[in-house]
């Protein structure tokens, strides 16, 4: 992974000092609430319903065991002993004291971490594929490019006060596990002959007005990545709307101009700067890639290793289930990637205790070269585990509550903090997630349903990604009461689609029942091997609607 040198350390330590000064000025009354707001936001500090919330940047989700242990310690010393994995592969603390934040930042800086630009109208944490570097279908490892983007965007002097927040994601494989089509800029690595480059998409996003990104460039040479991003953000900074925060994202500008015209303006700007100093040199590219080289894999006979694992699985059904749902193929024979589930029933999705953070650190050290990854579906990945040690890992993960074998199933939900914590929410989301997990707790049934993304947001800001859930649930306010709208057919994959509203909303108590009726229609109508989303795409909304809203006879 990327390691700081003295210059990175100097920049982050300057930042800690700067923020300490800002906090002191605020506490001394020299800065008003209004003046302090953008300063604390650019530092990831929100004031929530019950307490401040501090969002820590985890660049493209990558953490080492030292960082995990430090995060655990911070959660213990400054918070209530737990933390939360976010959909931007970041980590949040829910109960820090505002006065303590400078000290927390100083502790983070010691392990090469920070909370820079995790909120506010600036360029946010760049996200990527949790299986970067190990996926079999990967064209090139996206992490070196993510790191170059991280550095370019960190304290960018021109782009710290954009019309609205700005999110970039990079995918290294055609199968999109980074939801790049739902980002302000989606960068898809492509290969032309020997040359690596990027397909560039702009204008995707969720929130109140969900939009799927459109291509503005089919092939951008590797060395031009930063200058092209600079051109896009410069055009947006100058032309994006600033009169209405709900129309200020780049997606609205791209829609207003049309992707073609927006792309023309970007190209015109880029022409002026493409031969400048931002062009990546071969040395810089090699340097960035040098941080993401292969760990010291052992040589295994893949066929023999697969057979041995198969035999273990056959003798233990619970292990076999876990293996089937929670592991992911690795490009190196004899290895697999493992997803640790943070979604056992009754725990808010994405929440981990201080002990669990330490357990992830221990497991990473023991089984996966000391590194782990936060995923956009709020779980954690150990990317490089020997197959002959999976049984051992499974037993250890079970002990720490991470081995719920539900990855990719109905109960592996993406869920925002909702009305329990968030001041923007119209409705609670965590109790809805729990009610659904309780109703559908039969593993055989969940496996029979197969891959199914259910996403829950407590309001139209869509932090729980309800627009791109195969089933999406949106909390709405109906005359002061919490209701839930159900949507079907969304996807954040390379075949991205936006979910459609099923019909009138439901009370919280009704939601699990409604989900049950939707699943019954799928089960009765599916063809062999057909996933929920495929059945939906074939039969459409109507059969689901008829069943859910049928009058009781």
């Amino acid at each position: 992974m990327y390691r700081y040198d003295d210059r990175d350390r100097a920049i982050i330590s300057d930042r800690v000092a700067q923020y300490r000064g800002q906090t002191e000025r605020y506490l001394a009354g020299e800065l008003s609430e209004e003046q302090f707001l953008p300063l604390r936001l650019q530092n990831g500090l929100y004031i929530q319903r019950l307490a401040p919330m501090l969002r820590i940047a985890v660049p493209y989700g990558l953490l080492n065991s030292t960082q995990l242990r430090r995060l655990a310690r911070i959660s213990r010393d400054y918070d209530k002993g737990y933390a939360h994995f976010t959909t931007r592969q970041n980590l949040q603390f829910n109960w820090p004291q505002l006065e303590d934040v400078p000290d927390i930042l100083a502790e983070l800086a010691e392990v090469e971490m920070h909370s820079v630009q995790t909120s506010g109208n600036c360029i946010r944490n760049t996200t990527s594929d949790p299986y970067a570097g190990i996926a079999r279908d990967e064209i090139a490892d996206p992490r070196p490019y993510c790191e170059l983007i991280r550095q370019w965007s960190t304290f960018h002097p021109e782009f710290a006060f954009l019309p609205r927040k700005f999110k970039i994601a990079v995918s290294g494989s055609e199968q999109d596990r980074a939801a790049i089509r739902l980002h302000d800029i989606g960068v898809q690595i492509v290969q032309r002959g020997e040359q690596i480059g990027f397909q560039v998409l702009v204008g995707g996003g969720q929130g109140r007005t969900p939009v799927i990104a459109e291509q503005i460039r089919e092939f951008l040479p590797e060395e031009d990545l930063l200058s092209y991003l600079e051109a896009i953000v410069r055009v947006y900074n100058q032309l994006g709307r600033r009169d209405n925060k709900y129309k200020a994202r780049i997606k609205i500008l791209v829609k207003a101009l049309g992707a073609e015209e927006f792309g023309r303006r970007v190209e015109r700007e880029w022409e002026q700067i493409k031969d400048g100093v931002d062009r990546l040199t071969p040395e810089a590219l090699a340097w960035a890639k040098g941080f993401f080289t292969e760990p010291a894999y052992q040589a295994f006979d893949g066929t023999a290793s697969d057979a041995a694992l198969q035999a273990q699985a056959e003798s233990d059904k619970a292990f076999s289930r876990w293996l089937e749902r929670n592991s992911f193929p690795h490009r190196v024979p004899g290895y697999r990637a493992i997803k640790l589930s943070t979604k056992p029933t009754g725990v808010p999705p994405g929440d981990v205790t201080d002990r669990q953070l330490e357990a992830i650190a221990d497991l990473a050290d023991e089984f996966s070269f000391g590194e782990a990854r936060v995923t956009h579906d709020q779980n954690a990945v150990l990317a490089d585990v020997q197959q002959d040690r999976l049984l051992e890992l499974w037993q250890a993960a079970r002990k720490h509550g991470f081995a719920t074998p539900n990855i990719g199933t109905l109960t592996d939900m993406i869920c925002c903090p909702g009305g329990d914590y968030c001041s923007l929410a119209n409705a609670k989301s965590i109790p809805v997630a729990e009610a659904i997990q309780r109703k559908f707790d039969d593993l055989d049934y969940l496996y029979d349903l197969g891959d199914l993304n259910l996403n829950i947001s407590g309001c139209m800001n869509a932090c729980g990604h309800h627009h791109v859930g195969h089933i999406g649930i949106l909390g709405v306010d109906k005359k002061g009461e919490e209701f839930y709208q159900v949507q079907l057919g969304g996807s954040s994959s390379e075949n991205a689609s936006l979910a459609k509203v099923l019909g009138p909303s439901f009370s919280r108590a009704e939601v699990p029942e409604v989900i049950g009726k939707i699943l019954d229609i799928y089960v009765s109508q599916r063809q062999p091997e057909e996933l929920f989303i495929d059945t939906y795409n074939r039969i459409g909304l109507q059969p689901f609607k008829e069943s859910v809203y049928a009058k009781a006879s």
Binding site: Q22, Q35, F155, P157, E158, N237, D278, E283
Partner: protein, 183 residues
């Protein structure tokens, strides 16, 4: 898009920061005027004056002899491109930040310097914050007509909140990836 009648206008503070020092403000900035208020080259008092862009455009020929004491200010929706090659001949350009959250002026400043070769005084005016001074400086601003709390001397340290930076900008010709001493 027509501006609301009460759109914020830059003020004329008594002191400004120029090149890292607090000095008396030697320029008078004229606000944007309603169309029915007629300002002509003859009615303009002598001395250094900063005109709103549209007024400057209509009077520039009549003011040719006073060019050394005529500056221009651009509002946040007026791009560097409007001045273009004319920028080089101006002694002072001011860029307005009607609200600190309106970051268009950062691009405007940078483009005036990098694309249009402006070398005169580049002055930030309006509601920018102390904590934006480093960013403003990096985008090419060397003068700041700060409207917030005084004294200005307390602000000077915020011009140098960071000892290094990742990006190239006006204060640093090379991005960090070109300065790490890579083989």
């Amino acid at each position: 898009m027509p501006k609301p009648a009460n759109s914020p206008q830059p003020e004329n503070p008594a002191q400004v920061i120029i090149d890292g020092a607090v000095i008396e403000n030697a320029w008078r900035l004229l606000p944007q005027a309603d169309d029915d208020v007629e300002i002509t080259a003859d009615s303009l008092a002598p001395g250094n004056v900063i005109l709103p862009y549209k007024l400057w455009r209509s009077l520039r020929d009549d003011l040719a002899e006073r060019a050394h004491e005529i500056g221009v200010w651009l509002d946040s929706d007026e791009s560097a491109e409007l001045l273009g090659e004319d920028a080089k001949s101006l002694p002072l350009i001011a860029v307005h930040f009607p609200a600190f959250a309106d970051g268009r002026g950062f691009s405007t400043g940078r483009l005036l310097r990098e694309r249009y070769g402006f070398e005169g005084e580049l002055r930030a005016v309006g509601a920018f914050m102390r904590d934006q001074l480093t960013y403003l400086r990096r985008c090419g601003f060397n003068a700041y007509a700060y409207e917030g709390q005084q004294p200005l001397a307390g602000l000077l340290e915020s011009l140098r909140d960071f000892s290094d930076s990742y990006q190239a900008a006006l204060d640093q010709p090379l991005p960090l990836f070109r300065r790490r001493g890579l083989a």
